[in-house]
Symmetry: C2
């Protein structure tokens, strides 16, 4: 299959990536800005040289990784990026903290718990990981404008990455997003377009735009660059395993929006096992949704294989995808690994944000409230083993969803600057 942009990009450099491969039927394609199989419409995934026996000498080792930079580029040998990616202008995300959460573990009755806290990324969400990979693909294909449909975090990540890389950007969001996400997506100087509708409306609009002369020369990170973009989520799996001392955790709780992140974390664990970087042990993957947008959780509980779209209504706006593209794969993975998909109410989301903040000093976005809330629920309903090594993801930052907690997170007292006033206030509160 010839590349449409081959004339303008004579020397593609995707490092160890060698092809795109259909997840459904296995048909292979040359690396290009395509995302769906021409045979069966299945999603395309990146395939690597280290799956071929001839490339054994180039296989990645722990030592190579450990001597790399403290960001996702330490895993460049496992990603579709050129070897010199670390020296190119990008946001260098990743290597976020894996917080040993003993206080939270105690409250929940767990023996061993870590929080993978992706609020430490440059624009304070895990989206910096996926965008960094998509950016390299956009450069390879000669795109000068970076674009996306976004529930908010992706918009900021794309706008920031484009600014630093010297590309234009034009990002699309539902117009009713949180103020912090709107300001952040705009401040980097690219174009920001609010769409009157849900994220699913925005997504449909972008699919139209990519077929129109207005948008057909753009790199939509989560549409025509999606196979590359999605690979970025594997770095969460790589980091968690390395930070645990090269070990896959027994069980992990992951938020589900489109479902892409969860499927790629599973892919990441499998690649580590296949390359002999970690021991081949079973692990369980749990998906977390907000009740107001829980099509995958609903299907899981009903034993269905297909996911029925819903109209989202939840404070967890970054997870508010009513028609999740990778929903069926999430169901597969949760069932295959012995995990589950569960959901929590908005009130439980707020409680969980405050619980995580109070116990570990980590201020999570609503999406982090969803995962911690689901973690608590999974312990309560016995689906999660309290004795097993557990990891829960916080994929975003509380500063972006202040409204979720601002009614309750208020000053204990407001007083004049005098000891008497303080004494009275303390007495009032004791």
């Amino acid at each position: 299959m010839a590349l449409a942009t081959a004339e303008t990009t004579p020397a593609l450099d995707f490092g160890p990536a060698v092809a795109l491969s259909c997840r459904e039927c296995g048909t292979r394609y040359d690396l290009g800005p395509i995302f769906a199989c021409a045979e069966c419409f299945g999603p395309l995934e990146v395939a690597y040289s280290w799956t071929a026996p001839a490339a054994a000498e180039a296989t990645v080792t722990r030592e190579q990784i450990e001597s790399g930079p403290t960001n996702i580029w330490r895993y460049r040998g496992l990603l579709p990026v050129p070897g010199d990616v670390a020296s190119r202008p990008n946001l260098a995300p990743g290597w976020t903290k894996l917080v040993k959460a003993d206080n939270l573990a105690r409250e929940l009755g767990l023996r061993s718990l870590h929080v993978k806290d992706d609020s430490g990324n440059p624009t304070h969400s895990f989206k910096d990981r996926v965008v960094a990979i998509a950016l390299e693909a956009a450069r390879n294909f000669g795109f000068r404008t970076l674009s996306c449909s976004s529930t908010g975090n992706l918009a900021g990540a794309v706008a920031a990455a484009a600014a630093r890389a010297g590309l234009d950007s034009c990002v699309f969001i539902p117009s009713n997003l949180e103020e912090a996400k709107i300001v952040m997506a705009s401040v980097y100087g690219g174009r920001l377009v609010g769409i009157e509708g849900t994220y699913d409306d925005v997504n449909r609009f972008c699919s139209e735009l990519i077929g129109d002369p207005l948008g057909d020369k753009w790199g939509f990170v989560n549409v025509n660059l999606r196979p590359y973009y999605a690979e970025g989520s594997k770095t969460l799996a790589f980091e968690i395993a390395e930070q645990l001392g090269w070990r896959v955790p027994d069980q992990i709780v992951i938020p589900v929006a489109s479902g892409s992140q969860l499927t790629k974390i599973d892919k990441g664990f499998k690649e580590l096992i296949r390359l002999g970087l970690v021991e081949d042990r079973p692990y369980k993957i749990f998906g977390a949704q907000a009740q107001g947008c829980s099509p995958v959780s609903t299907a899981f509980k009903a034993g269905h294989d297909i996911v029925r779209p819903v109209k989202p209504d939840t404070i967890a706006k970054s997870l508010a995808i009513g028609n999740p593209a990778d929903g069926p794969y999430v169901l597969d993975i949760a069932r295959r690994t012995g995990g589950a998909v569960e959901d929590v109410t908005d009130a439980e989301v707020v409680d969980a944000i405050r619980l995580l903040a109070r116990t570990e000093g980590v201020f999570a976005e609503t999406a982090g409230g969803v995962t911690v809330g689901v973690l608590r629920k999974l312990v309560a309903n016995g689906l999660l083993d309290p004795e097993a090594e557990t990891v829960v993801l916080n994929t975003g930052d509380g500063l972006k969803t202040l409204d979720a907690v601002s009614a309750e997170a208020r000053p204990t007292a407001v007083i004049r600057p005098s000891l008497d006033a303080f004494r009275t206030a303390v007495a009032d509160n004791s």
Copy 2:
């Protein structure tokens, strides 16, 4: 000098720290929760074992540091903390990015520029560094409550660190702070008290409280723990030098609130030189203030040695200290190193925030707008050498001061999800 808390803390462990020493008269004191010299009322600083010849074998090497964790504890041998500090529950701040800012350098006409971006810290400001050191001192002295007066960032850092360490907290802020800082300081579950007044009023109140039975058993990180706390800012100097390849930059632009950070970065560079970890080369230190609170800049320009207090009126609230404790030291250092202290208007602060975001994808707090704005001004007025290696600090996060840019950082357009609507909007904007 005996410690008041000696009965409850039989085994103080401050690692390489051996005493407190008066910055003015040199009188030495046992390590304790004290901050002013009993002889001359000068500020006390931490003194270390590696200043004594007998301790030569314990001197810190580059190799020791480089093999340490990717946070400030890699420098534990240069800080007043126990050797096992990395394994204790704390926020493990630091090792934030030193961003090679080629785009910004080009716009400003500089040859070599880096942004030290401390928005990557756990609570997204440099304050996590100083609090982490103060926390260890509080543990050493047996304090069960952590407290502070704060312009906002410190409040969140103290509340988060106390939550993770299992200590109580009670933090004091001016009641008119930014919403994001109020919510963040409250969400970790400690007590948050708003004071009707300026930061200087809050600070005076805390000095009273520490002499009252209500507060005399508390660890005020920036009052009775200040000598330890202040040492945390040295880690900015250590990281910058190490990230430049073990080299002190030619010139650096640092924000000035109390002035403590600037003086300790200077101390950090001097310690690296003294220990032979970097070459002994001259460097210039520049201080940055907002015009609405520029007592140190005013004194610098007038050639004065004393700093006359002002009543702050600026959007850079995290720098709004009208009576800066270390102001005279800032003047000394700027003059001794051949630097300067400069100030910019609030409008220049907003412009600089947007400039940094647009060129490097870094969304800074107003304090970062102050330093970048001052950097631009120093280039324009010839005080800064455009050929020399330059570092500018961003000490906080744009998400905490959204109001500064929210009027201008808006969507380009808000449209229905249709190509026609987009075509019209694009035409309108082209």
